[in-house]
Symmetry: C2
Subunit: 341 residues, 2 copies
DNA sequence: TACCATTGCGTTCACGAGAACGCAATATGC
DNA sequence: GCATATTGCGTTCTCGTGAACGCAATGGTA
């Protein structure tokens, strides 16, 4: 059985209160006694009982705010993860407020952060819009000792305690590695991005193109096309490009637009002949994967991106846990029609 | 903030003891009052506080036994997961005994199970040897209300409360899907299994061959070769087969033996030309993956297979949780040189 | 010397849930 | 009609921890 603080107290010949003062450096204790207690606690391998601690901590209201971006299938996964974590920490007496903001708007992001702070949140997890003002707000929160965790896309250099999300550059490289394996010799490859301003997108495209060029010299890369996450746009691009070049063997999408590409390929009767790889693991795209219209989808573990930040904030507020790692890249999972869940 | 049983009591105009009797069906209560309390609890969304419950439950010693098979790199991962779960549940007052048995021996498996039962374990997680006697022991434990969870390889039809491990058949199919994507036309494929008696191996080979034949009619499958998890054996097989057939384009290993295959390919100067896919995600094999000697490795989430069973048993013993799903297949992850962790 | 501040420690309460215990009021047995 | 179950409920203790409180003994100041 686990060692209790009472056992430490008995072994040290003091009271439990003294043990508490020694281990939590609360002062009002003879330094020699404190040292002895700490030594004994270490020897006996004392670990505070999580349940007892949780119970007493339930008095200080831990309130965690979560800000999630507009409703996309991926954000739905993030939401699910956040809700699961919410249920768990609520059983420990904490409170979680989840806000879904309507647009990827900078003002709304900042306003919601302020609102959550005023509602008494002592920790915030946020899918941030990329902007200097968001960075400033994060830093201001940090200065007020309200820890912030960034989700999915990081605000580099800001004072968030950590970032939970995928390594976009690597995400592109993984796609490139797969493309390199399945492409026939001397093919041309089309890259379709979302918004040119989105950092994740940019990084994925960089990772993809650099890696593909370096491991398959025979392949010719077309210039990046921007579909602005619009399926009609991606359809048009696909049709246009396939008409212009007859040696396109693969299409890579760094963001959404898979549906448009599939539609174009189908109408041109090239489904399966042109390989499609995308970083957008949505339910709709999974269906295309099952049907063989898409060869690989790369996932970013949305569930974990919602779940982890809440748990990290809870642990920090609960135990004063410091997290050494500033960045936690979630795994990049490769999905084929066979290993879908 | 979360609702407490005291709040339910106040709302219902009764004492907390009555609420407890109503919600836990402990009798000695007016049925009408019980019904009213239950209704109010439901309305107010009452969920017992996990910490409070844990604290009071720490009196009844929850003791969980874990039996892990001989030291292989994969089992090391399972062990890590089990140790992590052990730490977590020990903070809740439970106890976890982990036993690593030396060989995949049926007698030793059974003896260790008995030993753990005599040590007072009220739940067992075991990586079972496949044998009728093991099945009988599991059923006997179930009859004594000691829940058993099977890890990694299931004893089908036994009275384990659930199984945590990969779906071997599907693992083979995933490999086949990848092989089908990367193989040149009209190639021959070599399949190397471990022991012919091992069910997981058998299933993987079945899944692989059935799926590959069904989606690539041009491919010719060679008869399954057995390397008995021995690298010298797999090396010999590879060399022999490559000498006999010059059109082998891919090698699939359902178990270990990757090193031997890589060595053979290297000596024959065919590294990279012959595609290698294996279900054995070990650190050594990861190195081959990084070096491009292996194209894909399929993982079975060893960590989760150690972690989950302990948590499931803890929850069952703690809450009396029934788990509906008898089987929990862990995800089959696809690893390339780019998404290794 | 009288007074207050500080130190060093033990004691006690609080947290939420489970369960034993106790105590009335009613029911049953003879 | 009295003794003894049984029912229905409130009260109290327990778990382990954190923190407030209390109380002596000492230190310093006027």
């Amino acid at each position: 059985m686990a060692v209790t603080s009472q056992q430490i107290a008995d072994a040290a010949g003091v009271s439990r209160g003294t043990v508490d003062r020694a281990l939590n450096n609360r002062g009002r204790i003879n330094p020699e006694v404190a040292e002895r207690v700490r030594r004994i606690a270490k020897e006996m391998g004392y670990q505070p009982n999580r349940a007892g601690r949780a119970l007493v901590m339930s008095r200080r209201a831990i309130k965690i705010g979560v800000i999630i971006q507009p409703k996309t299938p991926f954000m739905g996964k993030v939401m699910e993860g956040a809700i699961e974590a919410k249920k768990e920490v609520e059983q420990m007496g904490a409170e979680v407020l989840i806000r879904e903001i309507e647009s990827m708007d900078v003002d709304q992001t900042i306003n919601t952060m302020q609102e959550l702070k005023e509602a008494g949140c002592n920790g915030i997890a946020v899918v941030p819009a990329e902007d200097e003002r968001v960075r400033n707000t994060i830093d201001a929160f940090a200065a007020e000792h309200i820890p912030v965790v960034t989700i999915n896309c990081d605000i580099q250099g800001s004072k968030r305690i950590c970032f939970i999300g995928p390594d976009a550059l690597q995400g592109g490289r993984v796609a490139a590695g797969l493309m390199a394996e399945i492409l026939p010799k001397d093919s041309r490859v089309l890259m379709i991005s979302g918004y040119p301003t989105n950092n994740s997108n940019k990084n994925r495209i960089s990772g993809f193109s650099e890696e593909l060029v370096s491991c398959r010299e025979d392949i010719k890369l077309l210039d990046v096309q921007y579909a602005f996450e619009d399926d009609r746009m991606s359809e048009m691009i696909t049709k246009g490009m396939l008409k212009e070049y007859d040696d396109i063997g693969g299409i890579y999408l760094s963001a959404s637009g898979v549906q448009g590409v599939c539609k174009a390929l189908e109408e041109l009767g090239m489904t399966g002949r042109v390989k499609v790889i995308s970083n957008d693991l949505t339910d709709q795209n999974k269906q295309f994967l099952r049907e063989g219209k898409v060869q690989f989808l790369l996932g970013q573990e949305g569930h974990r991106q919602g779940y982890e930040p809440v748990q990290i904030l809870f642990n920090k507020l609960f135990y004063g846990n410091e997290r050494e790692a500033e960045f936690t890249y979630t795994e990049i999972s490769i999905k084929t029609k066979y290993n879908l869940v």
